[in-house]
């Protein structure tokens, strides 16, 4: 009996007390670092690109990476791959950020409208959300592009339709439960206007959940944009984006694989980084989300 307690006690004491604050895991640090880098590159693109991204260097065409003048090599027209990559990062991030924000705002507004008016407004929002979730977005996007042609603003808006239904469902559900017996109902009962109830009270309360959803949508938008651009139906030349570069580099796969590999690696790293950071944020902020 005595030894049992004696041996059991230290074991119990050695066990860490109620879950210590978990530190940020190293992979997440790496992900964050990559995101900071990529955003800095996008912001500073005009200053840090070694050459104009459209400038030709006809003497050094298809030169491989580690060339003294062109660190990442050049393409078939002698354009500097690094410069093109930097500009592509800027355009791709612009599309992805723009689209994610549009989609979050649109979805949240739709969700709030559904929660506020209920009745047929809610039915229409839910029906549209079901429709959006049931159809592959790529096909919808392609049809719109076929009918409307392409331009950067239209393209960002189109990508902004991606994933709005998730925000709408979340915003609607949380707003309804906050209104039914929670703080939102209490604030409304004080006499607050709907805009005050939704913007000052409900929005800050559900913001963390919405932000976590944004980290889910963001990499998907990057993949969608690069996929469409790869097909030649997204960002149009002379503008360039990551998908665009891969699509172009595919023609030189045998002779100059670096044209394709540099942007491809950037896409993979970026989506991976956002996913890692997003997973971590989800655990931290909102464990109820899958």
């Amino acid at each position: 009996m005595a030894d049992i307690t004696a041996s059991a006690l230290p074991a119990a004491a050695a066990k860490p007390a109620p879950r210590p604050k978990r530190r940020v895991p190293p992979v997440v640090w790496l992900g964050l670092a990559w995101l900071v880098l990529i955003i800095a590159v996008a912001l500073a693109a005009d200053w840090i690109q070694p050459y104009r991204f459209t400038a030709y260097d006809l003497r050094n065409r298809l030169s491989p990476p580690f060339h003294p003048l062109h660190w990442l090599g050049t393409d078939e027209l002698g354009r500097d791959v690094l410069s093109r990559l930097i500009v592509s990062v800027r355009i791709s991030l612009l599309v992805a950020f723009g689209a994610t924000i549009i989609s979050a705002v649109l979805g949240t507004v739709m969700g709030f409208l559904a929660a506020h008016f209920r009745g047929w407004v809610e039915q229409i929002v839910l029906m549209l959300a079901d429709f959006q979730a049931a159809m592959p977005f790529l096909i919808l996007a392609l049809s719109v592009l076929a009918f409307f042609g392409n331009g950067l603003t239209l393209f960002i808006c189109l990508m902004g339709l991606y994933g709005w239904e998730r925000y709408a469902r979340i915003a609607r559900g949380l707003a309804i439960s906050a209104g039914a017996q929670g703080y939102a109902g209490a604030v409304r009962q004080i006499g607050a206007s709907p805009s005050r109830v939704y913007l000052r009270h409900i929005l800050p309360n559900i913001a963390s959940t919405l932000i976590v959803s944004m980290t889910l949508t963001f990499p998907e938008v990057i993949l969608l944009e690069s996929g469409l651009s790869f097909l030649g139906l997204g960002v149009q030349p002379p503008m360039t984006s990551l998908g665009n570069m891969v699509g172009y580099g595919r023609e030189y796969l045998t002779r100059a694989p670096w044209i394709m590999l540099a942007p491809a690696a950037t896409i993979v790293m970026t989506t991976l980084a956002v996913s890692l950071v997003g997973d971590w944020l989800r655990d931290k902020l909102d464990p109820t989300l899958r």
Partner: protein, 340 residues
Amino acid sequence: MTGPMSPETLLALRDVCRSYSMRRGLLGRPTAVHAVDGVSLTVEKGRTLGLVGESGSGKSTTGRLALGLEPPDRGAVLFKGEPLPKDGTQEWRAMRARMQMIYQDPLGALDRRLPILEQVREPLDVHGIGEAKARDEKALALLQSVGLRADQGSRYPHELSGGQRQRAVIARALATGPDLLVCDEPVSALDVSIQAQVVNLLVDLQEELGLGLLFISHDLKVVRQVSHRVAVMYLGRIVEEGEADLLLHAPAHPYTEALVSASPEPGRRARPRIVLQGDPPNPAARPSGCAFHPRCHAARERCKVETPALLPLPDGRLTACHVAHDQANFLTSPLLKAAS
């Protein structure tokens, strides 16, 4: 209303009904559930009406109807003699400054992302009361008036105890200087040791500010402490209403009697405890006649068919019970008088 001495009527519900439609089962037709079925009551300035009943009796719905948070299907809700404006309109919102609600769950009723002081200040901002700069002062004074310290104003709801949170909710409700408070089970989520403090606070504030209170609770102990009058609800109807002392010491309705016996009063000889038989009340399946008859120890044949009306007894209270009225009639009948 009847004489120069009678206190001013704040709130009057006149034969108010509210039903919800509910579908039972997959193929079931929607059936109307009468949550509140012909309720009339009044709350006077500076006085408290206790509203008592089991869960499902419609007492919370009555509270929401009284505040205009839900429209009645039938009947009228009058505040100072005027019907309440329609829910959601500008007038309805302005009306919120004059009538407020205290909730059962203070943590749920507070925004957990804002400090307490800001939330107590919010009604002042919403209704544009006072200069913007003076509002913080006013909110601090409100905190102190409910017994919170000034430094607790910068705390967030989860950093306060249950009783403190409820005090904050009360401070917020009082910010606009309302005439009427509807308290829906305001202390039932609190520790018993805290309950008395919050109840006393409400009583003190009422005395100081002349508030009219509609105090909804299932707990007779608490109701007894605060109420001037008490109304007992059963399945959406008031079955007995009268002066608190009279009703709680000498209940006339068998249901009230059962409730009172379940909550013995300290210092009094415990009466034999009446244990209610049968199913708890289900608003979707209201029994015929007197809704209470399946559980009533005094039920007669008549109770199963004829719904008793809420009528005055000789001592002034209102009771909806065939048996109680028969007894009263017998006691006051000329036959008995002649015999004595």
